[in-house]
Structures are given as structure tokens and as C-alpha cells.
């Protein structure tokens, strides 16, 4: 039993690392524009389908497909930014409905192009077992965890030290004040979308490498990303990682101790619990959302 639990913890941590990458994109856009991009999960899935196409039709290694996935997701993210920034009235409600529309468009676009079949990578190396003492994982899981950590660290450094990163944080904190300091908010918001698209490209390719994809999966990814954003509270990348790992571990423990049918339930219950009990998230600064 102890071994099973340890294995569940390990798998959960690895899974959490991948979730963090998905959630960070959502959180960046939410921070900069106060817009929840309900199509973010579909952006991730788009990259995964690009990886599938590159592998099955071009014979590429799925990891190499990041080169193709990056322009695709960034272009889609830029299109989303362009439309969201055109909303004039009732921005809060209309941006939700708009991105919901995008998620419907993309999910059904995947269905049109790739049908409802479930796909996963054919690469044997990615699916081979990686043994670390008593713990098992696939190569792909460990690899995507490492890539996630590296990207999270890179974005963290970029937000803290680069001019653009500081500008992004400034716009997130106070748009008007940032404008007064000479930061063009529209360009910064576009940057947040592009960054979210780029992170989604990596997250999607990783998702294809370690898991299975199907057109309807994007909604679940968006919800998981939002749960993590809420758990983390706004404005902290280590918080996002910790919340993502918490979600991953809770899901893995549910699968081990109860049943895989209840996996989704865990996240939802965790989410509602945090919304009602700790409205500022586990790691966030004090901020009103009610």
C-alpha cells in the first residue's frame, strides 16, 4: 500500500508539472487582461493535434513538432487577442462568451479535421518506462515535467527581470498607471496572449507525448487550468506550480484509492472548497474576487 501511495504521489507530481504549464498561460492572460480565456484548453489541444499530424503524416518525432505548433498556437492566440480587444461594452460578460465561442469553434474544428478518434503517440521511446528506485513513469512524463519546470523558471525570470516582463506585471497591477509610465497596454496584452500561445504549444506537444487526445478534451483542460489559477491566487509562478502539483497529486490519489471515474470530481471539489473557504487562493496576495 505504501508503495502504491508513493507511486501515486510521484505520478501526481509529474502530472502537476504539466498542468502548471497549461495553467500559467491562462493565468498570464487573466492577470494582464482580466479575461479568462475559455479556449485556452483548445489552444493546448491544437498543439497536440499538430504533433499528431506531424508524427502520423510527416513521420516526425512528436517533440520536433513544437516548431510547427508554435506558430499555429501563437497565431490563434493573436486572433483571440484581436477579437477580445475589440469588445467595447460589458467586457467581463462578453469576453467570457467570446472565448466560449472560440472553444466551440476549435473543439468542433478538431472534430471536423481529425474526427472523434482517440490518439496517442506511436513513439516507443516516449512510452518506455523510466525506473527511479521504486518509482515508475514513462520517459515522456518525466521529460515533460523537466521541460515544464524549465519553462516556468524561464517565464519567472522573464517576468522579474526583463523590461517586457515588468511591463506585463505593471499592466496586470494597474493598467492606467502603467499607461502613464509609458507602457503601451495593448501591446503588452498581446504579448500575454502570445506567451500563453507559446506555452500552450509546449504543453500540447507534451500532452500528446504522455497522454491521449480527443477533440472534447479541451474543456477539461481549461477547467483544470482555471482550478489551478484559483488555487494559486494571482501573481505567483511558484504558487501556480504548487497548486498544479496539489491538483495532480489529489487526482492521482483519487485514482489509486477510489476510482478513475471520480478523478474529475476531486478537482472540482477542491476548486469549490478553495473558492468558498480561501477566496484569495492558497498562495495569492489579498485580492477581492467576490
Amino acid at each position: 500500500m505504501a508503495e502504491l501511495l508513493l507511486q501515486a504521489l510521484y505520478s501526481g507530481v509529474l502530472q502537476g508539472g504539466s498542468y502548471a504549464l497549461i495553467a500559467l498561460g491562462l493565468a498570464l492572460v487573466f492577470g494582464a487582461m482580466k479575461v479568462i480565456n475559455l479556449a485556452h484548453g483548445e489552444l493546448v489541444l491544437m498543439a497536440a493535434y499538430v504533433a499528431y499530424t506531424a508524427e502520423s503524416m510527416l513521420g516526425w518525432h512528436p517533440l520536433a513538432a513544437v516548431i510547427l505548433a508554435l506558430p499555429a498556437t501563437c497565431l490563434a492566440a493573436a486572433a483571440m487577442h484581436w477579437t477580445v480587444s475589440r469588445i467595447r461594452a460589458d467586457r467581463e460578460i462578453n469576453s467570457l462568451l467570446l472565448t466560449f465561442g472560440f472553444s466551440v469553434v476549435l473543439a468542433n474544428g478538431f472534430l471536423l479535421l481529425w474526427r472523434a478518434d482517440v490518439h496517442s503517440t506511436a513513439s516507443a521511446w516516449l512510452q518506455d518506462a523510466l525506473v527511479l528506485g521504486p518509482l515508475y513513469s514513462m520517459h515522456s512524463e518525466a521529460l515533460s515535467f523537466v521541460i515544464s519546470l524549465a519553462l516556468l523558471a524561464a517565464v519567472w525570470w522573464w517576468l522579474a527581470h526583463s523590461w517586457q516582463g515588468r511591463a506585463l506585471r505593471a499592466v496586470a497591477a494597474n493598467r492606467d498607471a502603467a499607461m502613464l509610465m509609458g507602457i503601451p497596454p495593448a501591446r503588452t496584452e498581446l504579448l500575454s496572449f502570445l506567451l500563453a500561445g507559446a506555452l500552450a504549444a509546449f504543453a500540447g506537444v507534451a500532452l500528446y507525448c504522455y497522454g491521449v487526445i480527443q477533440p472534447a478534451y479541451g474543456g477539461a483542460l481549461t477547467v483544470k487550468a482555471f482550478i489551478i489559477t484559483v488555487l494559486a491566487g494571482l501573481g505567483s509562478i511558484p504558487g501556480v506550480l504548487a497548486a498544479a502539483i496539489l491538483l495532480g497529486v489529489c487526482e492521482a490519489l483519487t485514482v489509486t484509492l477510489a476510482s478513475s471515474a471520480l478523478q474529475e470530481l476531486t478537482g472540482m471539489v477542491l476548486f469549490l472548497l478553495v473558492l468558498f473557504v480561501l477566496p484569495n487562493g492558497l498562495f495569492g496576495a489579498a485580492r477581492r474576487r467576490a
Binding site: 487573466f30 479568462i36 477579437t83 475589440r86 469588445i87 461594452a89 460589458d90 467581463e92 460578460i93 462578453n94 467570457l96 462568451l97 467570446l98 466560449f100 465561442g101 472560440f102 472553444s103 466551440v104 469553434v105 476549435l106 473543439a107 468542433n108 474544428g109 478538431f110 472534430l111 471536423l112 474526427r115 472523434a116 477533440p215 474543456g219 477547467v223 482555471f226 482550478i227 484559483v230 471515474a261 471520480l262 474529475e264 470530481l265 472540482m268 471539489v269 476548486f271 469549490l272 473558492l275 468558498f276 474576487r289 467576490a290
Partner: protein, 320 residues
């Protein structure tokens, strides 16, 4: 003034349904897609009531549709309740199930929208896993059928009943909007804080709107369960109970009374007759495109756009 126009529009919609009924009452295909459009209209009205009066976007109305469907189906199947009582109980059950969502009312905007979505997921998982009551993914079959109005073919009768249900929703919506509560809710739309200062319990009012909206969606779900005769969790709590009504309500204009109903008839029929012809797989693609286009071009829907165009003749040729 607007209320009066809406009144006429609702009457016109009902008249249109009656005309269809007389002309194609014997055609089961036309009847069945009209019934589906009316169901969508019912959920769209419920969604628009919460959005317009309560100021809240919900992506979780599938929870109420599914709960209403299951409560009614189980009451009639297991307890032998008559179908009309079952539908009433379904509406009540959906409202009761919405009470667990009341804590979400202190959340705003995206937080509320996604909390409701989380509840809907939980409801679906519970319906799937609680097999001793719902029979899980195997589904419930043999749900008692709707009563047939004398002198009409079964589908035409169901169509008329659905139209009456939607009309009842529209009248209830109008009554709420005209009441003191409706006035307070409209004031809350402009400034919730100012309205609270005047002594209005805004949370109570929003909660009431959530329950009313849930009851409406539950009644539609219950009605649909008896019309279809079969239920399974993925259908009863399916995402299409959210997508289609939202697109329809936005298309028609969710801040008006007739908008969601007219929008539902237009969008639902277009989806069935045209979109499915063009794209047998993934025809909701076009619904998504429509939603994006509407939010960009006219977030208040086509009805206000049409009214504006009629008021300013010759400006853009009355095209809406």
C-alpha cells in the same frame, strides 16, 4: 413600451408555432425539430433570465436540465407519479439542486461562470456513479410518455405543449421583470452597491433568480425526458444543453424577452436543417462562429439591431 412590444413578439411566436402545427402537424420530422427548437428556447429563456436580471453568465445550466429530467423520470418510473406532476417535481428538484450553488453567488463574473460549470460536472459525475438510483451510464428506459392532447397526433400535441411551456416561461419572466424585484434587479445592473445602500438585499434577489432559472431549465429537462423516453447522464447533462441555448439567446438578444425564443427557433432550425447538412460531423463549429460573430458585431443580439434598423429607415436598408 418594450414590454408591450415583447408581449406582441411572444404572441407572434406562439402564433407562428400554431401555424406550423396546422400546416405540418402530421409531419413527424418537422414536428420533432420544432419541439427541439422550443426546448432550446425554454433553456435559453432560463439562461437569459439569469444573465439579464441576475447579471450572471452560467455555463452550468446542463446541471438543471439533467436534474429536472432525472427527478421527473424517477418519480414517474419508481413512484408512479403522473407525468405532469413529474415535470413539476422535476422543476422543483432542479431548483432544490440549485440551492447548493447559492454560495457561488458571492463570486463574480468568470469565477461564478466557472463555479457553476464545476457544479454541472459534479452533477454529471454523481448521476453517472450513483448507479443504484440512476442506473448510471446504462441509462433509464421506458420513461412514461407525455399525455396526448385529444384530437392531435402525438408529436403535434407534444409540440403544442412545448410551445405552451415556453409561453408560460415568458409570462413568468415578464411578471418578474415588471415586479418590484425586477426593478431592483435592473437597478443592480447599473450599480449593485448603490442598490444595496437603498436597502435591497441583492444576494437574496440573485439567489431567487438562480432558483427560478434552474426551475425553468429543470422543467424543460423533465419535459424532454418524457418526450424522448430515455435518459443517460452524458445526454441529460450534455454540453449541448449549454452551447445551443447560449448561442440562441445571444443571437436573438438576451436582454429582451422574445429574443431568446426567436433566436432559439432560428438557430436551432438552422442547426438542424442547414448546418447538419453541410457538416454532418462537428456542425456546432458554425454555432461557435455565429457566437463569435455576434459578440463582435452586435452583442445585444439581432432583435435590438433590427429594431434600431427599423427606427432609422434607409440608413442600412433595414438589413439586420
Amino acid at each position: 413600451m418594450t414590454a408591450l412590444r415583447n408581449h406582441y413578439a411572444a404572441a407572434a411566436a406562439l402564433a407562428a408555432v400554431l401555424v406550423c402545427l396546422l400546416a405540418w402537424g402530421g409531419n413527424p420530422y418537422v414536428m420533432s425539430i420544432t419541439i427541439a427548437a422550443l426546448m432550446t428556447g425554454g433553456v435559453a429563456l432560463a439562461w437569459a433570465l439569469l444573465g439579464n436580471l441576475g447579471g450572471m453568465v452560467s455555463f452550468g445550466h446542463a446541471a438543471f436540465v439533467g436534474t429536472g429530467a432525472y427527478v421527473s423520470a424517477l418519480c414517474t418510473l419508481r413512484l408512479g407519479a403522473p407525468v405532469p406532476a413529474g415535470i413539476l417535481l422535476g422543476a422543483l428538484g432542479a431548483a432544490l439542486s440549485a440551492t447548493v450553488m447559492l454560495p457561488a453567488l458571492r463570486l463574480r463574473g468568470p469565477y461564478f461562470a466557472l463555479a457553476i460549470l464545476a457544479y454541472a460536472h459534479i452533477f454529471r459525475i454523481v448521476a453517472t456513479e450513483w448507479t443504484s438510483v440512476t442506473r448510471g451510464a446504462a441509462g433509464l428506459a421506458g420513461i412514461p410518455a407525455l399525455p396526448v392532447l385529444p384530437g392531435l397526433p402525438p408529436r403535434a400535441s407534444a409540440c403544442l405543449l412545448a410551445a405552451l411551456l415556453v409561453l408560460a416561461f415568458a409570462l413568468a419572466y415578464r411578471a418578474i421583470r415588471r415586479s418590484h424585484a425586477g426593478l431592483a434587479l435592473r437597478a443592480m445592473h447599473d450599480s449593485e452597491d448603490a442598490t444595496r445602500v437603498l436597502g435591497v438585499n441583492s444576494t437574496l434577489l440573485k439567489g431567487a433568480m438562480l432558483l427560478v432559472s434552474a426551475a425553468m431549465a429543470g422543467a424543460v429537462g423533465a419535459f424532454n425526458a418524457h418526450y424522448i423516453g430515455f435518459l443517460e447522464p452524458d445526454y441529460a447533462f450534455g454540453a449541448m444543453w449549454v452551447t445551443l441555448p447560449i448561442v440562441a439567446a445571444i443571437f436573438g438578444g438576451y436582454r429582451t424577452l422574445a429574443g431568446p425564443v426567436i433566436g432559439s427557433l432560428a438557430v436551432s432550425l438552422a442547426d438542424q436543417l442547414l448546418f447538419k447538412e453541410w457538416l454532418p460531423v462537428g456542425h456546432q463549429f458554425l454555432l461557435g462562429v455565429l457566437l463569435v460573430a455576434m459578440i463582435l458585431a452586435s452583442p445585444d443580439g439581432l432583435l435590438p439591431l433590427a429594431v434600431r434598423a427599423l427606427r432609422r429607415p434607409r440608413k442600412d436598408g433595414g438589413h439586420a
